[in-house]
């Protein structure tokens, strides 16, 4: 059941070295809190690797990135991938459909999910992708292992005092990530007495562990060059 707590406390309580964390919905402030705390050897699961994933990779927090797409030209991602700096990075890359199916299976409490995979691409094989035969039609469909992150770190618009969380934009994979994860931290921009009557998408408080109030996302990202990133990271960590 959700409790409302300061972001730094929530991150300290939920994220340990070596954890598998899902990052969805662009939780800018939570990523900043992770950089401050600096856990290591994380497995980072995110449908789309953008600036936040790049920062965590640049800070050396991430050992393995599980993803389905990335902003082109992420500088820290490139360095980690090509030069192993600051730490070597393993990648586990999927189509969005496959990673969505991994989340969906985890959310349903099932060991695997199925999809009509997009055959013919050059994506490397992973031991999380296999096939199953339909016991009714004999068709073979793609099977993917459920993902069950230790922690899902999500961002949404608002919560009520009980910790029911409301998403106002496109829900993306937030609902599935919350259910698939063993623990869930949601950052929100406001905490209200009562959620508006038309509920949009709601995560009930019992699928959320921590809610932390943060300001709206600001865009003071780091500079692209390595030295500049290092100085930015030092400032973040002060």
């Amino acid at each position: 059941m959700a409790t409302i707590s300061p972001l730094a406390d929530a991150v300290a309580d939920l994220v340990a070295d070596g954890a598998e964390i899902a990052l969805e919905g662009r939780p800018v402030a939570a990523a900043r809190a992770l950089l401050r705390r600096g856990p290591g050897s994380l497995t980072l699961v995110t449908l789309h690797a953008g600036a936040l994933a790049d920062q965590l990779i640049g800070a050396g927090c991430v050992r393995r990135l599980v993803f389905a797409g990335a902003d082109p030209g992420l500088p820290r991602f490139r360095e980690a991938l090509l030069e192993g700096r600051p730490v070597p990075l393993e990648i586990e890359e999927y189509t969005a459909a496959a990673l969505v199916a991994r989340y969906t299976a985890g959310a349903a409490g099932l060991p695997f999910g199925t999809l009509r995979g997009a055959r013919g691409t050059d994506l490397p094989e992973h031991d999380t992708v296999s096939a199953v035969r339909c016991p009714f039609t004999g068709e073979v469909v793609t099977a993917v292992a459920a993902v069950r992150p230790d922690v899902a770190i999500l961002h949404a618009r608002r919560a009520d005092r009980s910790g029911n969380v409301q998403v106002t934009g496109p829900p993306g994979i937030l609902r599935e990530a919350a259910l698939a994860a063993r623990r869930t931290l949601v950052t929100v921009e406001e905490i209200v007495e009562e959620l508006p009557a038309e509920p949009g998408i709601v995560l009930p408080a019992f699928v959320v562990d921590r809610v932390a109030l943060v300001g709206p996302a600001t865009s003071q990202g780091p500079p692209a060059d390595r030295a500049g990133f290092g100085r930015w990271l030092d400032e973040v960590r002060v």
């Binding site: 797409g69 890359e93 189509t95 459909a97 969505v100 691409t121 934009g169």
Partner: protein, 221 residues
């Protein structure tokens, strides 16, 4: 000329279609179509947004897998002779010279949409004989490959660039130059294409941008 890229792509979309458009040039083309000749076009965005509909990503994949997406508009860093899209790496996957966007939705859209329209600027580094990494399948290795792979969609209808339009030859599935934008020569296109580009017998010259298209481009930009 770059404006003609989105305009010419937009003209391929029809008012009765459900169109899944990736961000950037594809979405610009879809919006332009709806603002001009295709007011009924349904635009599904990559985040599951459809006008007021906010679908989750699982639902968006259900729409694709049940054949409800008529046309996908895609882009990529590379396209090859057989309409395959490369957008994962340049060079080797394990030792790339550049790291690109990855599959995301493209692979599923390329597999399931009834047809696809590919939009990208026509540059030699992008129009390659064989993409470095097949991120999304066009016609694979030839005209029967999609069927062999069990891909339900029809594959690329056209590749639209800032120089012209390429369409697959029905017999070989190889991309052929069928349309030239006004003022563009075949030699110009060949110079920007990394394979021996075939040209249709009587290439069409793209109609000039209309006043309405011009207006819609400006206001949606």
């Amino acid at each position: 000329m770059s404006a003609l890229l989105t305009v010419a792509a937009a003209r391929l979309l029809r008012s009765d279609q459900v169109c899944l458009a990736l961000p950037g040039l594809p979405l610009a083309a879809a919006r332009l179509a709806r603002a001009t000749h295709a007011p009924g076009l349904t635009i599904v965005e990559a985040d599951g947004r459809v006008d007021g509909v906010l679908a989750g990503l699982a639902e968006l994949h259900a729409w694709l897998q049940t054949g409800r997406v008529d046309v996908g508009v895609l882009t990529a860093a590379q396209v090859d002779l057989l309409g395959n899209l490369g957008d994962t790496v340049l060079g080797e996957y394990d030792d790339p010279t550049a790291r690109l966007a990855g599959a995301g939705l493209s692979a599923a859209v390329a597999a399931h949409a009834r047809e696809t329209v590919v939009v990208l600027p026509h540059r030699l580094h992008s129009f390659v004989d064989r993409v470095d990494f097949v991120t999304a399948v066009g016609f694979g290795t030839g005209p029967v490959d999609r069927a062999a792979l069990g891909l339900p969609g029809g594959g690329p209808l056209a590749v639209v660039t800032d120089l012209g339009v390429l369409r697959p030859d029905p017999a070989t599935a190889e991309l052929v130059l069928t349309d030239l934008h006004p003022g563009v020569t075949v030699e110009q296109v060949r110079a920007e294409t990394g394979w021996e580009l075939e040209v249709a017998e009587d290439p069409v010259t793209t109609a000039e941008i209309t006043a309405a298209e011009h207006e819609a481009s400006r206001s949606s930009a």
